[in-house]
């Protein structure tokens, strides 16, 4: 899966929103791009402080919003973090850089999308 964004998901999301679908999608992208860095930062801190609850919560949130906008790979990564927060010793987790890298790609892809709108 090369593209960081599953355009089909985004397309169906737009369709579902109806008439002003693209405007809403744009608004959603703005919201996502604003929130996601904070969540990634929070995840990074939670891992550092070994705060499982916070990790789980933030990963869960980022998982679903990412899935909504078609950032399927990012969403899957978040899900892994969520599962780890419940089962493994989170101090051993080293997925934050990977998360940040994925998000950087998603961000670019979304910004391009946003410009099309």
């Amino acid at each position: 899966m090369n593209s960081p964004i599953d355009t089909k998901v985004l397309q169906s999301f737009r369709d579902m929103m109806g008439e002003n679908g693209w405007e809403i999608v744009a608004e959603m992208i703005d919201c996502y791009l604003e929130d996601a860095p904070k969540l990634i930062e929070a995840i990074s801190q939670a891992v550092a402080q070994a705060d499982a609850t916070r990790l789980r919560s933030c990963a869960h949130t980022l998982k679903s919003s990412s899935a909504t906008l078609g950032a399927t790979t990012l969403s899957h990564l978040c899900k892994e973090l969520e599962v780890i927060s419940q089962t493994e010793n989170i101090s051993l987790v080293d997925k934050v850089p990977q998360l940040e890298a994925k998000f950087a790609k998603v961000k670019v892809a979304l910004l391009i999308r946003r410009q099309h709108v």
Binding site: M16, G18, N20, E27, S64, S65, T68
Partner: protein, 707 residues
């Protein structure tokens, strides 16, 4: 309900999620299909927003920091209206535990993430629809409870009960109020139609059953009134109305209706009917009693009518004599029972003390002679005529006990109703009045007959006496004259003086008798009325009086005088007397001036009351007049205000005048003052009534004062 309806109603959705992205997503998704959206980012906010916004539905994220969705859901349940607001929890797809917790916390439903938008919208819509449906149902139930409560209140107030007959099952249900109407204790209602019908009075059963059949067959309203007999034997009236319900094939399913106790109404209706009938009867009988003025008829009518009215075996009237004895004077008795009519009873039968009681209006009511609280001898006494019950009311005439009105029941004892007693009393009162009137009439008739008789006798006497007195008087005058002619010279002066005086006296007596004859003959020898010209009559009178007018140097002025219907000779007599008097009673130094004239006026007949047109004939003089205090006297026979030596005359003249005027239906009055002349006014009706024109006595060819 479709989305259009949702748009129209624009339901308010409260989105509770800590994730801003999620909230935005939900808001936009739902706004797109017509919802209004409010947001809360945590549990506390959610509770506050819920309380002040009253959302129609809550979308609640299960996983939130601080207060998670489950606690929030639990707390939402405690807020008012929460039972009506659906809560849709958003949980993770794979998390069965969360789903269980969501329902345990009171969520209405759940939806999993990632959210499938179509599913969300469908679910929200369904939840709202069912919520609304439940709400509507709840309101309907509430309303129906309310109206049921109101209906129950009204039915209770109206003392009505409801019934519901399932025709297919033949089972009958009563409301609490209905059982007492049938005299049943609560809970013992009739279970079937037949049981109900059995409770209806046997005489009413057929028409009640018919009414039910008709209502079912024709689909019309059932409405009837019937009697029921309670277990205690008392009779009650029930009014009932109902309606039949059918299925599609016009098959009767149910009959539902109300019933109410109408005993009081029926009772007052019956009482009213009785009263009307009673007063009608009373009026009828009273009329019959009062129509007669014959005592015998009054008594007979009363006993006959009362006997029929009361259906008594015997009704009689016991007449009480002043000495205490009494007799049965009238009786109406059913054949087969002894007749008492005509029997008389000694004073001992009816002691004075009893008479006093009855005089005070006492009524004796005996329902059963055997058990009556009266002396055994009285019981024996009345039992000889088979009397078993009796009713006695007094008949009072001007507060005197005249007799008794008695009703007997012979076949059996009898309970006398209060209205029967009252009726008998009232009829006895009416009898008293009728008898009093009859007595008065009798007395009045007797008096009038006596008066007529004595009047006729008196007139006959006057006429005969006057006539028979003439003969000896003529002889006295005739022989007196012969004595004077033949032996006048032989007599001494004194003898001649005696003779003169005797003859003067005889002449006066002659005049007196003449006048009396005239007076008595005004009615006995009257002539029929004809047309009389009073002006002509006056001229005749004046020529008769010519000598006197010349002697007194007097003058008579005659004005307009009418033509009237009258007895011509009597009119002449009337004017002769009045004008004669006017000339006679003149002042010494002043010649008489007499005015005779007429004018138009009215008179009031004592019997008629209203004024009728009349002529007034006036004779006015300038003579000596008289004091009006003697007014009553001057018209009476032999009444004179002056001595014979002053003014000649018999004192009969004005009495004749008055009698003539009265015979003509008029009146004669006078006005005067001593020394100022006198005015006599004759008032005569313009039209003489029928019958006046017919003379009361045998007509004579010519009225002759000399007989």
């Amino acid at each position: 309900m479709n989305t259009t309806d949702i748009k129209k109603k624009s339901p308010l959705l409260l989105v509770v999620d800590d994730d801003k992205f999620m909230r935005l997503q939900l808001r936009r998704a739902m706004e797109q299909v017509g919802y209004q959206v409010a947001e809360a980012s945590d549990g506390e906010q959610a509770l506050a927003a819920y309380s002040c916004l009253n959302p129609d539905i809550v979308l609640l994220d299960a996983l939130m920091p601080l207060m998670d969705g489950f606690s929030c859901c639990t707390q939402l349940q405690t807020l008012s209206g929460s039972d009506r607001t659906p809560i849709l929890m958003i949980t993770a797809l794979e998390d069965q535990e969360s789903v269980d917790r969501a329902f345990a916390a009171g969520a209405t439903d759940y939806i999993t993430k990632p959210i499938h938008w179509a599913v969300l919208r469908q679910r929200v819509q369904r939840l709202l629809q069912s919520s609304w449906a439940i709400e509507e149902l709840r309101q309907q139930t509430e309303r129906s409870h309310q109206s049921e409560a109101q209906l129950r209140l009204v039915l209770e107030a109206a003392q009505m009960g409801t019934w519901d007959w399932d025709i297919l099952q033949n089972s009958l249900k009563y409301s609490n109020h209905l059982e007492p109407m049938f005299g049943l204790i609560p809970g013992s209602a009739h279970l079937t139609y037949e049981a109900f019908l059995n409770a209806v009075h046997p005489e009413d059963r057929d028409y009640v059953a018919q009414a039910v059949t008709d209502a079912i067959a024709a689909g019309k309203d059932y409405e009837t009134e019937f009697r029921v007999i309670w277990a205690d034997g008392t009779l009650h009236w029930v009014g009932s109305k109902g309606q039949v319900y059918y299925d599609n094939t016009f098959k009767p399913l149910r009959m539902v209706g109300i019933s109410m106790d109408i005993t009081d109404r029926k009772r007052s209706e019956a009482e009213l009917q009785h009263q009307t009938r009673r007063s009608q009867l009373f009026a009828d009988i009273t009329l019959k009693i009062r129509q007669s003025l014959q005592p015998k008829e009054i008594l007979q009518t009363t006993v006959t009518e009362v006997q029929q009215l009361l259906q008594a075996d015997r009704v009689l009237i016991y007449r009480l004599c002043p000495d205490g004895t009494g007799s049965v004077v009238t009786e109406a008795v059913v054949s087969g029972w002894p007749v008492i009519l005509g029997q008389t009873f000694l004073a001992e039968v009816f002691p004075e003390e009893y008479r006093q009681l009855y005089k005070q209006g006492r009524v004796q009511v005996i329902e059963d002679m055997e058990n009556a609280k009266v002396t055994s001898c009285l019981i024996e006494f009345v039992q000889q005529w088979g009397v078993q019950a009796k009713l006695v009311v007094p008949i009072l005439l001007k507060s005197e006990l005249w007799g008794l009105l008695i009703a007997h029941q012979c076949a059996s004892p009898r309970q006398w109703h209060s209205f029967e007693i009252e009726l008998l009393q009232q009829l006895a009162n009416q009898m008293g009045i009728a008898l009093t009137q009859a007595q008065l009439l009798e007395e009045e008739t007797r008096r009038r007959q006596e008066l007529d008789r004595s009047n006729i006798e008196l007139q006959q006497f006057a006429s005969i006496a006057s006539h028979d007195l003439q003969e000896p008087l003529r002889k006295i005058l005739a022989f007196g004259n012969r004595l004077k002619d033949k032996y006048g010279e032989v007599l001494t002066d004194q003898g001649r003086d005696y003779l003169d005086r005797m003859q003067n006296a005889a002449s006066r007596m002659q005049t007196l008798i003449d006048d009396l004859l005239i007076l008595s003959r005004i009615t006995t020898r009257a002539r029929p009325f004809t047309t009389v010209n009073l002006a002509q009559v006056t001229q005749d009178v004046l020529s008769d009086l010519e000598v006197r007018i010349q002697q007194t140097q007097g003058r008579v002025e005659v004005g307009e005088l009418p033509i009237i219907a009258a007895d011509p000779l009597q009119m002449r007599q009337l004017l002769q007397n009045l004008i004669g008097n006017a000339l006679k009673f003149h002042q010494d130094e002043e010649p008489p001036v007499v005015k005779v004239y007429s004018r138009f006026g009215t008179q009031r007949q004592p019997s008629e009351g209203q004024a009728t047109d009349a002529w007034q004939i006036i004779v006015e003089d300038n003579g000596i007049g008289f004091d009006e205090m003697y007014l009553d006297r001057i018209f009476n026979v032999f009444q004179r205000l002056h001595s014979r030596s002053e003014y000649e005359g018999t004192g009969v003249g004005l009495a004749i005048c008055r009698k003539i005027v009265e015979r003509h239906g008029g009146s004669l009055t006078a006005e005067s003052k001593p020394g100022r002349g006198a005015t006599f006014t004759v008032t005569l009706p313009i039209t003489q009534r029928q019958g006046d024109a017919i003379s009361e006595g045998p007509p004579t060819n010519r009225h002759n004062p000399d007989g």
